[in-house]
């Protein structure tokens, strides 16, 4: 096996829903052995329970949501409401480098799995808790999910159609965002340990990881005492800058953005209206911004009679930023993403061969790849308990009967 950046790093993964699994998936991509802890005793693992299921046949191993974000991991069942399960978790901690959770603040402590306990078992353990509001502060116990985190972080306030109400943003963006920031913090802690021998605890608030992506809005308030305005897809400086109607059914759109004088002139030429470049309404960037409603009409008249890919190719050939607004089918069938090896077809024991989103980076010296599909529920329980803790099959069977390993 190729030597990957995290080869030899073992992770005990108590995460659920989306943010935490997105985090530990990055570690699996980079070569870590991620052991995911689940239980059937509580319906915490929402991603196994909601559609889409393969061919619309429900089943915990058939959920696309789970299978997408748990690529490359192992899975064990451990019913953390049982004291024996906590003992097993403690025993496993001796054999891992890193523990990750994304419960609300305090839950791991209550379970007997807080950082102080884990550190007493393994002094250089790294523990990362990815909670909604962080482990301290007056809202530390508040419940967080991705959509309300978008609201709390001001993303809804800043997003919306021209002069309209605050809008939602389509996906639970603060979830995977907390996941990737968690992965960064864990990489920093691993590098820190490699350089100093020290482990540490990471307290990450989903709200705060979203707020570091809001500097344009926050600093406008701090520096100019103005709240952000909602202006659809329009930019504060650039015009044209929108998602335009394309030919075909009602759901075909093409995004176009012009950032420089050169691009503006190229656009005019590419759409066969060179005279626009000298039109008094559009002579400067400031005028184009001021008259963008008229400009949008002109662009729409051009895009709406053409296939979105045709518009894209014409404009890109002229050096103008344009791209179709991609739906899920578009992405799954995209030749560029396929050629780059981003789309991966994973052969899963229950749902067969399915296309997933893979790794959004490549490394020339340590070729990361999705090494295996998401695990079936509890698939590795026996193997992990046998190999790491020396459990016998009889003992495992007994622990199943007493509902410790469910």
């Amino acid at each position: 096996m190729a030597d990957l950046p995290l080869s030899g790093i073992r992770v005990l993964d108590f995460t659920w829903a989306w943010a935490g699994p997105f985090c530990t998936m990055q570690l699996a991509h980079l070569g870590a052995e991620v052991i995911r802890v689940e239980t059937t005793a509580r319906p915490a693992c929402v991603t196994r329970l909601i559609p889409p299921f393969a061919d619309d046949v429900p089943g915990p191993n058939r959920a696309g949501y789970f299978n997408q974000y748990n690529q490359g991991k192992r899975a064990i069942t451990l019913n953390l409401t049982k004291p024996e399960a906590i003992e097993i978790a403690h025993a496993l901690v001796k054999h891992v480098d890193l523990v990750v959770d994304n419960y609300a603040a305090g839950v791991m402590d209550k379970l007997g799995l807080g950082y102080d306990k884990l550190r007493s078992i393994k002094p250089d353990i790294i523990m990362a808790s990815l909670s909604g509001y962080g482990q301290t502060g007056p809202y530390k116990g508040f419940v967080g999910y991705g959509p309300p985190a978008s609201a709390a972080a001001g993303m809804f306030f800043g997003t919306g159609y021209e002069d309209g109400d605050p809008g939602e943003i389509g996906v639970s963006y603060p979830d995977p965002n907390a996941g990737i920031f968690g992965a960064f913090a864990i990489m920093a802690a691993l590098a820190h340990r490699a350089l100093t021998g020290e482990g540490q605890y990471i307290d990450q608030s989903q709200l705060e990881t979203a707020l570091v992506l809001m500097p344009e809005g926050l600093l406008q308030y701090d520096l100019a005492k103005r709240e952000p305005e909602r202006h659809g897809n329009h930019d504060v400086v650039m015009a044209p800058h929108d998602c335009y109607k394309a030919a075909g059914d009602d759901e075909k759109w093409v995004s176009i953005a012009v950032g420089t004088e050169g691009e503006w002139r190229s656009l005019c030429k590419a759409i066969g209206q060179q005279e626009l470049a000298d039109d008094a309404r559009f002579k400067t960037a400031a005028l184009r911004k001021q008259n963008e409603a008229a400009l949008d009409q002109i662009i729409t008249a051009w895009t709406s009679t053409r296939d979105r890919w045709e518009s894209t190719r014409i404009l890109q050939a002229a050096g103008v930023a344009a791209f179709p607004s991609m739906g899920n089918k578009d992405l799954a069938e995209d030749p560029h993403l396929a050629e780059r090896g981003y789309l991966v077809q994973l052969d899963h024991p229950e749902v067969g061969k399915r296309v997933h989103a893979g790794i959004p980076w490549t490394m020339s010296g340590t070729p990361c790849a999705v090494r295996k599909p998401a695990p079936l529920r509890g698939a590795d329980t026996e193997e992990v308990l046998k190999s790491l803790l020396g459990f016998t099959l009889d003992r495992i069977e007994q622990l199943r009967k007493t509902e410790v390993l469910i």
């Binding site: 959509p147 309300p148 809008g167 998602c243």
Partner: protein, 408 residues
């Protein structure tokens, strides 16, 4: 400042990073390393980084030395000027890379060879160097040389097509999220993978090239939408209904709140909080899926009750019952948040010529690794002489010549 008192010396202070390319992606990736203690040199073109021309500015008065986004992205860095499109500028870059551990940049693939930033050539010349490039579509594939901005990235990655979600405005187009999220994701992914490559280098002494695609970063963040197609041949878009309910933005007496109940138990507690209205037991609202499908009716029925609350009161009362409501916060709300204040989230920074700026701070709180804002963002070319003459052996005469020629 928000430095960690337990461990003042950062183990990352030995990491030397060179950053090129304008705007957000590489600057944010390098900032994440700089905030942990890495020494970052930012290379700007003679006209200055385009983030200097984006604002927001104090009092809305445009000034390249006072741009809020530039300051945010470039604290903790020293800045030099070098025109990489000219051979003399590329010589300066070579001087910087001689003892660097990491080069991080977002110069587009078609411009790289002419800027001395071809990954393979750099890896051959500097075998220990980690070369991290961030681009819209990645370094390879049919769209590698295509042009893009954040708007086109979030459309190319499939996010905009899903936004705002359950849209009440079907004739309005897919909607971009506030800010520059495609760029920021390129940056945070790049910083993460760069640290992974650094771990590998600690073990082996070898550098390597990293290629981060912003389009692919976004396409990995679409919840279960891609699998709706690959698992069940169902297309998804910004239209349709919510998966579950209640899930909507509502008016309170003094502002807006996001009303959400995910688990059935949360709904039961919400019904109690509403005073057990009779309609709540209607078949239309029997479970979370039904409440999602019948959300218009639900919203109308909940509306009057919601409108009697003040946002903060309802937020607290709901959260007391573990119901995940959240206010539609404004920027002012965030700066005035008692919770963020208690966690020292915003960090005051004294920026010359601007005064005190309150910057978004630590994304993750480390028990040991120090995180700090140690120096303001550089003025254009502020450290050219210090770095090129003081540390890289270029004579003052030569630097002056290069300045006159517009290279430095």
């Amino acid at each position: 400042m928000a430095n960690n008192p337990t461990s003042p010396k950062s183990p990352f202070s030995a990491i030397k990073v060179v950053e090129c390319g304008e705007g957000i992606p590489a600057a944010f990736g390098a900032k994440m390393l700089a905030d942990l203690g890495a020494e970052v040199i930012k290379v700007e073109p003679p006209g200055g980084d385009l983030a200097r021309r984006r604002g927001p500015y104090p009092g809305d008065q445009s000034d390249p030395e006072k741009s809020g986004i530039f300051i945010y992205l470039n604290t903790n860095k020293r800045g030099v000027v070098a025109d990489l499109t000219r051979p003399e500028g590329r010589e300066l870059l070579t001087k910087l890379l001689g003892d660097a551990d990491v080069l991080i940049h977002n110069v587009p693939p078609p411009e790289r060879a002419a800027s001395g930033l071809d990954s393979a050539a750099l890896c051959a010349a500097f075998p220990k160097l980690i070369v991290t490039s961030i681009s819209i579509f990645g370094d390879t594939g049919p769209y590698a040389n295509w042009h893009g901005y954040d708007l086109t990235v979030t459309n190319a990655g499939g996010w905009a097509y899903l936004s705002p979600g359950a849209s009440p405005y079907p004739d309005q187009p897919p909607l971009k999220c506030f800010g520059s999220q495609g760029y920021f994701q390129g940056g945070v992914h790049a910083a993460t993978v760069t640290l992974a490559a650094y771990m590998h280098r600690l073990k082996t002494g070898k550098g390597q090239a990293i290629d981060v695609s912003e389009q692919e970063c976004i396409a990995a963040m679409l919840e279960m939408n891609l699998m709706h197609w690959t698992y069940a041949k169902r297309e998804t878009s910004r239209l349709g209904s919510r998966l579950l309910g209640p899930w909507f933005i509502a008016d309170c007496a003094d502002g807006k709140i996001f009303a959400l109940a995910v688990e059935e138990e949360q709904w039961k507690r919400l019904v109690e909080l509403m005073g057990n209205p009779e309609w709540a037991s209607d078949e239309l609202f029997k479970d979370r899926i039904a409440r999602g499908q019948n959300q218009d009716a639900l919203k109308a029925l909940m509306g009057e009750w919601l409108s009697q609350w003040k946002v903060q009161d309802l937020y607290r009362e709901a959260q007391k019952r573990r119901i995940p409501f959240a206010p539609i916060n404004t920027m002012r709300d965030l700066y005035e948040s008692e919770h963020l204040a208690a966690r020292d989230f915003f960090v005051p920074l004294d920026q010359p010529g601007v005064g005190t700026v309150h910057l978004p701070g630590m994304p993750s709180k480390y028990g040991r690794t120090p995180w700090s804002l140690r120096r303001p963002a550089p003025q254009l070319g502020e450290h050219s002489e210090e770095i090129f003459c003081g540390e890289r052996g270029i004579s003052r005469e030569r630097l002056n010549e290069l300045r006159k020629a517009g290279v430095a």
